[in-house]
């Protein structure tokens, strides 16, 4: 009876699908049919959700704070853009994987830099890498189109069958399918001995190392995986919008991502997805109310959330739903937000 077997068994036990998760994905798919005029913003949310998922892998599960995750997003975006523009790989799914792989290589290479040093150093190194890539993209503007971005990208139909249209329908279902597949993979990874060891590392790297977990190797592995996901998110971006310019590397993108995870919560995989929905909608609402100063309200939301604390905020927000559910479901039923996946 091996330890690994035991741990594996324990991990898989927690991996059984809860009915609410099934409902979640059905609802997500349903939105594609319920709101045919809102494909564009839903695609935007889906891409952001995938990107947030990739950051959740390193932030929520491994505890690496990264302010430059947009670096991999950008590599994926430009990768897909260049592949399509120069006709090297025209089939979108293959191009997606290729661009994702390019980002993975970069992720692997930079992971060695990220495992060294303390929090602040890591923050700076990740930020520096993203800015460096942005500067490089600008410098080699003959390849990347510089500030103007890649022009004239045309994306071939997905799998040769589904063409991208002006309404964004194909884009949405394509993005949603990609998100779902990658989510399944992430779920499998997280609910495994590997995933458990990551959580151990996040909680206390010293102790994890003391019990025999190869800390650095695990961090490199998860960082590389996360960069793959981020690269795919970037490639999706270019494929669904037919655009790729310098702002795919921008600091604002990485900062917005942090906000998404703050809203949704880290460490239980759904945080990125929920956060993406809420954040994007908040942004829409704010910019409709005030086209120029919406950033103020987003900043305010961030400040309030951090000050008040997400747990307390959720308790307040769910106060009324809790009352209702307790009435119907008996004394023990309660709506709770898992802070982490540890329950």
């Amino acid at each position: 009876m091996s330890v690994k077997g035991d741990v594996g068994h324990f991990a898989r036990q927690h991996a059984s699908w809860h009915w609410s998760e099934v409902a979640f994905w059905c609802l997500a798919l349903g939105c594609g049919f319920l709101f045919p005029s809102r494909y564009l913003i839903m695609t935007d949310i889906t891409r952001l959700a995938l990107f947030a998922l990739s950051l959740d892998l390193i932030l929520g599960y491994a505890g690496i704070v990264s302010l430059g995750h947009a670096a991999f997003f950008g590599i994926g975006a430009y990768g897909a853009g260049l592949l399509a523009l120069h006709g090297i790989i025209t089939e979108p799914v293959l191009a997606l994987l290729a661009a994702g792989l390019a980002a993975t290589v970069a992720g692997f290479a930079t992971s060695f830099l990220v495992i060294r040093g303390v929090d602040l150093t890591r923050l700076m190194v990740t930020l520096g890498i993203a800015l460096l890539l942005e500067a490089l993209a600008e410098r080699y503007s003959n390849i990347t189109g510089g500030t103007d971005g890649l022009q004239g990208i045309e994306i071939a139909p997905v799998l040769g069958l589904f063409a991208f249209d002006i309404f964004g329908k194909t884009g949405f279902f394509y993005a949603l399918a990609t998100l779902f597949v990658l989510f399944l993979v992430a779920r499998r990874v997280v609910h495994s001995p590997f995933g458990l060891s990551l959580r151990a590392i996040r909680n206390n790297p010293l102790r994890a190392g003391a019990i025999g977990v190869p800390v650095n190797r695990r961090l490199i592995a998860v960082y590389t995986l996360a960069s793959f996901y981020a690269g795919i998110a970037g490639a999706l971006f270019t494929q669904t919008t037919a655009l790729a310019s310098l702002d795919v590397f921008s600091f604002e993108r990485s900062a917005d991502l942090m906000l998404v995870l703050v809203i949704g919560g880290t460490g239980y995989l759904y945080g990125g997805l929920i956060g993406a929905v809420v954040f994007r909608l908040l942004q829409e609402v704010f910019s409709t109310i005030t086209p120029q100063y919406w950033q103020f309200w987003i900043g305010l939301v961030l400040v309030v959330i951090v000050l008040v604390g997400r747990a307390r905020l959720h308790r307040w927000v769910l106060f009324v739903p809790n009352l209702i559910i307790r009435r119907f479901g008996g004394g023990r039923a309660v709506v709770a937000v898992p802070e982490t996946d540890a329950s």
């Binding site: 600091f251 950033q295 400040v303």
Partner: protein
């Protein structure tokens, strides 16, 4: 050509050959830029070293000081050198108020929370300033004595940049003096070294910090007013220059002020030289240097691992 050669002997501006003058000019410009960065960023370094607080909104205090000075000088006719101290005071007061009201709650929180909170503050300040002051760049009306250059052996010495070097140099010397020679300075150094032992010795660490934070913000405000001419003052200032401040702090380390001082000089000279000699590579140079230094010395060039 002959006339020029002959004139060269008598004209001091032609004694140095052109590559020498450009090296000296770039050095001068780089030093001015570096010292300005130091004044802007040293508050951030001390904050980080003292209270382990990552304050990405530091640029917002600089921006506040800059705009206060601009409004006083442009719209109310104050002289430039009177506007500078007021920029300092305003930012210091705002800093003190925010510290008591908001920042205090974040000392015990994780770096991530601090980063997020301060990013939120930055967004708010950027939008607020945009609303009240408009999006275009603001210029401060300078006294004529500060405009233009004068020639020193063919090296163009900008008056404004010279003033910056003088003011910032004086400030640095003052700071070093305070740290090394005053009682407050030694309390501050003790608190940075080890806050627990320091408070065990009876030093009121929170008070030291409140004062230092306010002072750091004031310095940032002063730096902001000075940088309106060189770096450009607009509502996006905190976002544009945050990375520079962070580089100074991480490369320089946060356990003293000599570290950030040298790091700022390095950054300033590197940036100017990079843009002059390899203009296509511009920012590329700075980020590469930073990454290389951080790999080699994860705690910064002059930092020590914090004793906590």
């Amino acid at each position: 050509m002959d006339a020029r050669l002959k004139a060269g002997h008598d004209d001091p501006s032609l004694w140095l050959d052109s590559s020498m003058t450009s090296i000296l000019t770039n050095l001068f410009d780089g030093v001015a830029y570096g010292m300005l960065l130091f004044v802007l960023a040293c508050g951030l370094a001390v904050t980080l070293g003292l209270m382990n607080l990552v304050n990405l909104a530091h640029g917002a205090f600089a921006m506040a000081g800059g705009y206060v000075c601009a409004v006083l000088v442009n719209q109310h006719g104050w002289p430039f050198f009177a506007g500078l101290p007021l920029a300092f005071v305003t930012s210091a007061v705002v800093g003190a108020a925010l510290e008591r009201a908001l920042y205090r709650h974040l000392y015990t929180r994780s770096h991530l929370d601090q980063v997020l909170f301060t990013i939120g503050l930055v967004f708010m300040s950027v939008a607020a300033v945009d609303y009240f002051m408009g999006s275009s760049r603001v210029f401060i009306n300078l006294p004529p004595a500060l405009e233009g250059q004068f020639d020193v052996f063919g090296v163009g010495v900008g008056r404004y940049r010279l003033m910056i070097i003088v003011i910032c140099g004086a400030l640095t010397a003052l700071l070093q003096l305070i740290l090394a020679r005053t009682r407050f300075g030694s309390r501050l150094r003790a608190a940075v070294d080890d806050p627990r032992v320091a408070s065990g010795l009876g030093i009121n660490v929170p008070q030291v910090f409140a004062f230092t934070f306010a002072f750091g913000c004031g310095l940032a405000g002063l730096g902001g007013a000075l940088s309106a001419e060189i770096l450009g003052l607009d509502p996006y200032f905190p976002l544009k220059f945050m990375i520079y401040f962070l580089i100074v702090v991480t490369v320089g380390g946060s356990s003293s002020i000599t570290g950030p001082f040298l790091a700022s000089l390095l950054l300033g000279i590197g940036d100017v030289a990079g843009k002059y000699y390899v203009p296509k590579m511009g920012p590329f140079v700075i980020y590469s240097i930073m990454i290389v230094i951080l790999i080699w010395r994860p705690n910064g060039l002059f930092g020590r691992t914090a004793a906590r």
